[in-house]
């Protein structure tokens, strides 16, 4: 099996015109280059898979294709014609439609209304609904995909799978706007479906191929290989290759997705000195179950960093939140330093010396308009108070000490945290758990998400320092390399279960591929 890096796509007069073609698409966000010259070709009547790790630029590319993101440079060609897409409606006029990852249906309307929403045509006359016409219009769309959903059922009464059919029926409305075969983009369509429903979806996709081109995006590489004719791979905002799916196996794709291993080993610096004392485990989790995970066993020793890896939907985020009492647990026993841990809420967790750095920093991690000092002392109020009163001097001394220790770059302790860079914000969030000096277990949920390389390595250094000082750490890393580089041990989660434990000592690190085999 070979993976051929395609040259820059050229339009060839003799070849059939491509349904969609992207040339050198570039999109900058502050601090990040989301798209760095992406090339992509979608042929007519084919199913093209799009693969790439988190942050590879997939979602930015898709958004650019439906007019939700305006690229800084590059061209989009539809059937040999250069186009500018400034809105979803313009994209639809060119025959491009997308089924969004977060389902984009109005839950409290009927399926029929959702299907024709925004282009009701004869379904509404002078502002008055013709329910009969509306239902007929919707039925026509549902017939195209052979679905038997009642058009007048309320959307929130339908199952996820049925709703997805409604979305596909809705997207196919773009056929009314253009005489050409449409391009349908499916963004992570299987993530909410069960196995039987996935099969139905796949037969649907094959059906779509008869009269449309499909772009299929999924985290599950086996699915991509199953349903697609060809796969294109993105990494770091660039197209890094493509391959026909016939004969390909997931590891081929994964090699493309993660690139040559060991290329960026800034995770590894200073690692050689780290070793974990062979002590009693500090955190012991036995048979913990929740809504999205089951029978999870886990232990973390003092000074140890344990990474949890798994694909989207593996339940690892919920395990992390459950340990902090932020997600209800149904069964299981958790002890911290031998004492039974109270999982009933976040207050109990904080009181037992657990700190949690949430993935959504801006929403859950910090209070944007409040000062650095107030954010840092938010949880451990006692650290800045005498009785019920805040003692400004006490707070100032403490906060200044930690600003210096973590080298947080802020003009002043009174500066609004929202004005700092992401890396410095994250350090303040971390400092929140350190000011009281009683931290025993740190739960880090994507602590480097959205940070640039420099800020990342500072967060890594901080994590190592904390571990060396005896804090037990659970890490949900942003990438496999990060998990491997930072962890002493890695737990692999698969569909809500902890399926494998991989030792990850300095000098004996597994490769990303080793882990992927366990993940998919």
């Amino acid at each position: 099996m070979t993976t051929n890096l395609q040259p820059h796509p050229e339009t060839d007069a003799s070849a059939p015109v491509n349904a969609l073609e992207v040339r050198g698409l570039v999109k900058h966000y502050p601090g990040v280059k989301a798209l760095d010259g992406v090339d992509l070709v979608v042929r007519q009547n084919e199913v093209l898979g799009l693969a790439g790790e988190n942050g590879a630029g997939k979602s930015t590319l898709l958004k650019a294709l439906v007019g939700l993101v305006r690229p800084d440079a590059g061209e989009i060609w539809v059937r040999g014609e250069k186009v500018r897409l400034r809105s979803v409606v313009e994209a639809a006029d060119h025959g491009i439609g997308m089924v969004f990852q977060e389902q984009s249906l109005v839950p409290n309307l009927t399926a029929a209304e959702n299907i024709v929403l925004g282009s009701e045509g004869p379904g509404v006359r002078r502002g008055i609904y013709r329910w009969d016409t509306m239902r007929k219009l919707a039925q026509e769309q549902l017939d195209k995909i052979g679905s038997h959903i009642d058009p007048l059922a309320r959307t929130d009464s339908l199952s996820f799978a049925e709703r997805q059919m409604v979305e596909i029926a809705k997207v196919l409305r773009i056929e009314e706007r253009t005489s050409h075969p449409p391009v349908i983009i499916l963004d992570e369509p299987t993530s909410v479906l069960e196995s039987k429903e996935i099969e139905t979806l796949f037969s649907q996709v094959r059906r779509l191929r008869e009269f449309a081109s499909v772009v299929f995006v999924s985290h599950r590489l086996d699915e991509v290989l199953d349903v697609c004719d060809r796969v294109a791979v993105l990494r770091g905002g660039q197209s890094v290759g493509e391959t026909p799916t016939a004969g390909a196996v997931p590891s081929d794709l994964h090699r493309l997705m993660i690139g040559s291993t060991g290329s960026d080993d800034h995770y590894h610096e200073g690692l050689s000195e780290r070793s974990v004392a062979d002590s009693e485990p500090r955190l012991v989790v036995k048979g913990m179950s929740g809504k999205t995970f089951r029978d999870v066993d886990l232990d973390v020793r003092a000074g140890e960093i344990v990474g949890i890896v798994g694909v989207h939907g593996s339940g690892r985020e919920d395990v992390c939140r459950a340990l902090f009492g932020a997600e209800p647990t149904l069964a299981g026993e958790v002890t911290l330093d031998g004492a039974k841990l109270d999982l009933s809420g976040t207050r109990a967790a904080v009181a037992s010396g657990i700190g949690y750095v949430p993935a959504e920093r801006k929403i859950e991690g910090m209070v944007g308009p409040m000062s650095v000092a107030d954010n840092m002392t938010l949880t451990k109020q006692k650290s800045r108070c005498a009785g019920p009163m805040v003692v400004p001097q006490k707070q100032a001394t403490l906060v200044d000490k930690w600003i210096e220790r973590l080298s947080i770059r802020t003009p002043h302790r009174g500066t609004q945290i929202g004005r700092l860079s992401g890396g410095n914000q994250q350090k303040v969030v971390l400092a929140r758990w350190l000011v009281a000096g009683d931290i025993r277990l740190l739960l880090l949920d994507h602590p480097t998400r959205g940070l640039d390389i420099g800020a990342r390595s500072e967060v890594y250094r901080l994590m190592r320092e904390l571990a060396n000082s005896g804090v037990a750490t659970v890490l949900l890393a942003d990438s496999l390399e990060e998990a491997i580089g930072m962890s002493d041990r890695i737990i692999v989660m698969n569909d809500g279960r902890a399926t494998k434990e991989v030792a990850c000592p300095s000098g004996g690190k597994p490769t990303p591929l080793d882990l992927v085999k366990e993940m998919v």
């Binding site: 409606v89 109005v106 839950p107 609904y129 059922a153 199952s159 196995s195 999205t292 809420g345 569909d495």
Partner: protein, 337 residues
């Protein structure tokens, strides 16, 4: 490599909503509560279970029903409207000065009513415009518009109370058809019209959709701003009609005609099952809510609860009803504001 069908079927997935067809428990709650409350009061008080008292209840509900009908559309969108007292006050004085009265020589009759309603529509339109063009939350814009309405009413009032002599308007409150006052029939008509708008007009359906998932409408290429303005305009006309009805009841135009109707209407709508977050409920829900509130008021009097207790007891029942309604949606670490 395995097929995408995962072998392990026991896996616990994220909970998925079970198909709900027809009437859900959440929708059935308020009507059941209404029946239960009526049952309890009927058992406790022979005075309550008389035809005459039923007429009382219906007549007492008329004005609130019309105002609540209007506010339902705003709440359905997830917005809020505090302009009820201002709009009602302005229209109450306006209609009093436009029909036959003791202050001037106007005698426009039904046309006067229409003008008053249009005034309310204009005030509602103002709320909506401020919301979509200045991007000020409806809470503040409508509070401001309420003050504007009261200001207009005060200017027109100018210190002398207009008493109406128009036979038609006075007759609405007094004359009966099938045992109910004309005003009550007007209220029933409003509920019917409101329900038709909600069910069969694009305006009504989009108001519902805006409350459900506004961003989806934008993704589908729908411009929501005009619909928001239209909903506030529609609501304003309902409030204005309610103001006219108060003038009919009092035979006089009062600046304070709409006092207290803002929160009474919101309470009735919420008790009826319309969510303040939008997307659920509607005109019929609100009608049931209005009856619940009014029956409660009436029943507590009939069974002899001391007037000193009534306000507090009513408040407790309202809080209990609303918390029962949101119970199924509670989750851990929920942020409530």
């Amino acid at each position: 490599m395995t097929s995408p069908a995962k072998a392990d079927d026991e896996v616990v997935r994220a909970p998925r909503p079970q198909p709900r067809r027809g009437v859900s428990l959440g929708d059935a709650g308020p009507p059941i509560a209404l029946v239960v409350i009526i049952g309890i009061f009927s058992l406790l008080s022979p005075d309550f279970r008389t035809i005459a008292n039923l007429q009382n209840v219906m007549d007492a509900a008329a004005v609130l029903a019309v105002a609540t009908c209007g506010i339902s559309f705003v709440l359905m969108m997830g917005s809020i409207d505090l302009s009820v007292p201002g709009v009602m006050g302005a229209s109450a004085i306006a209609v009093a000065l436009l029909v036959a009265n003791n202050r001037n020589d106007n005698d426009l009759g039904l046309l006067g009513v229409l003008v008053a309603v249009l005034l309310g529509a204009a005030l509602g339109c103002l709320s909506g415009m401020a919301l979509v063009s200045l991007k000020v939350p409806s809470f503040m814009t409508t509070l401001g518009v309420s003050a504007v309405g009261l200001g207009i009413a005060t200017l027109m009032f100018s210190g002398v109370q207009p008493n109406i002599s128009d036979a038609m308007l006075r007759g609405w409150a007094v004359n009966r058809f099938l045992g109910l006052a004309y005003l009550t029939w007007i209220a029933l008509g409003c509920v019917l019209v409101g329900w038709l708008i909600q069910r069969y007009s694009r305006l009504g359906r989009y108001a519902y959709a805006i409350g459900g998932a506004e961003e989806v409408l934008a993704l589908s290429g729908v411009k929501v701003a005009p619909y928001k303005v239209a909903v506030f305009t529609l609501a304003g006309s309902f409030y204005a009609l309610a103001g006219v009805m108060v003038t009919s009841q009092l035979s006089a135009g009062l600046v304070q005609a709409g006092k207290g109707y803002d929160f009474a209407a919101i309470t009735a709508a919420v008790v009826g099952g319309t969510l303040l977050t939008g997307g659920r409920g509607g005109v019929l829900h609100s009608a049931v809510g209005v009856l619940l509130v009014i029956v409660l008021q009436n029943g507590l009097v009939q069974i002899g609860v001391s007037p000193y207790w009534q306000g507090g007891v009513q408040g407790l029942i309202v809080v209990a009803a609303v918390s029962a309604a949101v119970l199924p949606q509670r989750r851990r670490n929920q942020v409530t504001k």
